[in-house]
């Protein structure tokens, strides 16, 4: 067992090391810290068109590198975040935004879960109310009380 572990240890260490590899390491210079912050926010919130579920900052795909460069260039040209988002969605569609904008086609996405939750809440409430209403009056009349006592005593119905 211990020998097994000893054999496995280097591999486990390698696995740990692998998690520290950043997908994209680029040395970039920005005019200001504010610009750099905007850049980082944009590349974190935009999706790599090639990889389905990675943002631009976390993707190794060549197109992600190109789009990062494009964003940086546009920031340096003084374009606003909205301009850049507009530029990207005109070419890559809503798909590129990890946080989809509120529009007719995304209403369901934004409010669907809330609607389902509220729907579930009302259904449970109605079910509980129905269950409560179906509970019959459990108090016994004096005769019934007597019969119950007799039954408990004899162990059989008289």
């Amino acid at each position: 067992m211990i020998r097994r572990l000893r054999q496995l240890l280097p591999m486990l260490l390698l696995l740990l090391a692998a998690t520290h590899v950043r997908a994209a390491i680029e040395e970039l210079e920005f005019a200001s810290e504010e610009e750099e912050a905007r850049y980082n926010k944009l590349i974190d919130e935009m999706r790599c068109p090639k990889c389905l579920n990675a943002n631009l900052s976390g993707s190794d795909a060549p197109i992600a590198a190109d789009l990062r460069a494009e964003i940086k260039e546009q920031l340096q040209e003084g374009r606003s975040d909205d301009d850049i988002i507009e530029f990207m969605t005109a070419r890559y569609g809503e798909f590129i935004l990890y946080r989809p904008r509120l529009s007719a086609s995304t209403v369901l996405l934004w409010f669907g879960p809330l609607a389902l939750l509220l729907g579930g809440f009302f259904i449970v409430r109605r079910m509980l109310a129905a269950a409560r209403a179906s509970i019959v009056d459990a108090t016994l009349s004096p005769e019934e009380q007597q019969r119950l006592h007799a039954m408990l005593k004899d162990g059989k119905e008289s």
Binding site: P49, L52, P62, I63, E70, A90, R91, Y92, G93, F95
Partner: protein, 177 residues
């Protein structure tokens, strides 16, 4: 609603979900919807692959049906689709094939076409990938069908072969003509 009808609600819900999931299974998640379909061709002006002193502009892609193919010698699926493109371009002379050599070594691209045949009537280069971004490509190969009014009608991601041509591109062309 009668209580009897209410009993069917979970069943209807279940079948609907099943249908949606089944529909999702049949879809290729790599087929990302394109923002450019049914939009005009992006405006561009890029150097000719064989004569960089000349430029080719989007204005030249008018008055016919164009097939714009984004490719590069660095891209393995492009090597796979190349012989099909050569064959299809011979079979479909009414289509104008436009090759966008994407983020490539221009010399290698010229040699590639000289060696293996050139399916494109128009060849342009996009060395820095900016035209690729304007087309909204996610890589190569990608193919766009442009109609005679200069509107993009279809985008295909991935290599084209005879099966893809018959199943997806031909119906689009039939619709345009």
């Amino acid at each position: 609603m009668s209580n009897r009808a209410k009993l069917f609600i979970p069943a209807v819900f279940f079948v609907t979900m099943l249908g949606l999931l089944f529909y999702g299974l049949g879809r290729d998640p790599n087929q990302v919807p394109s923002a450019l379909v049914n939009r005009p061709l992006p405006v561009f002006s890029e150097p000719d692959l064989f004569d960089p002193s000349k430029t080719i502009s989007s204005e030249q892609l008018r008055g016919g049906i164009f097939l714009v193919n984004v490719w590069g010698t660095w891209c393995a699926p492009c090597h796979y689709e190349h012989p099909y493109l050569v064959e299809i371009s011979e079979r479909e002379p009414e289509l104008t094939f436009v090759g966008v050599n994407y983020e490539d070594d221009v010399k290698a691209a010229r040699e590639f076409l000289e060696e293996r045949g050139n399916p494109y009537k128009i060849n342009l280069t996009d060395v820095d990938g900016s035209l690729g971004i304007d087309f909204g490509v996610s890589g190569a190969p990608e193919t766009f069908i442009v109609d005679s009014s200069g509107t993009i009608r279809y985008r295909h991601v991935g290599p084209i072969d005879n099966a893809v041509w018959a199943e997806t591109i031909e119906p689009v062309l039939a619709q345009i003509q």
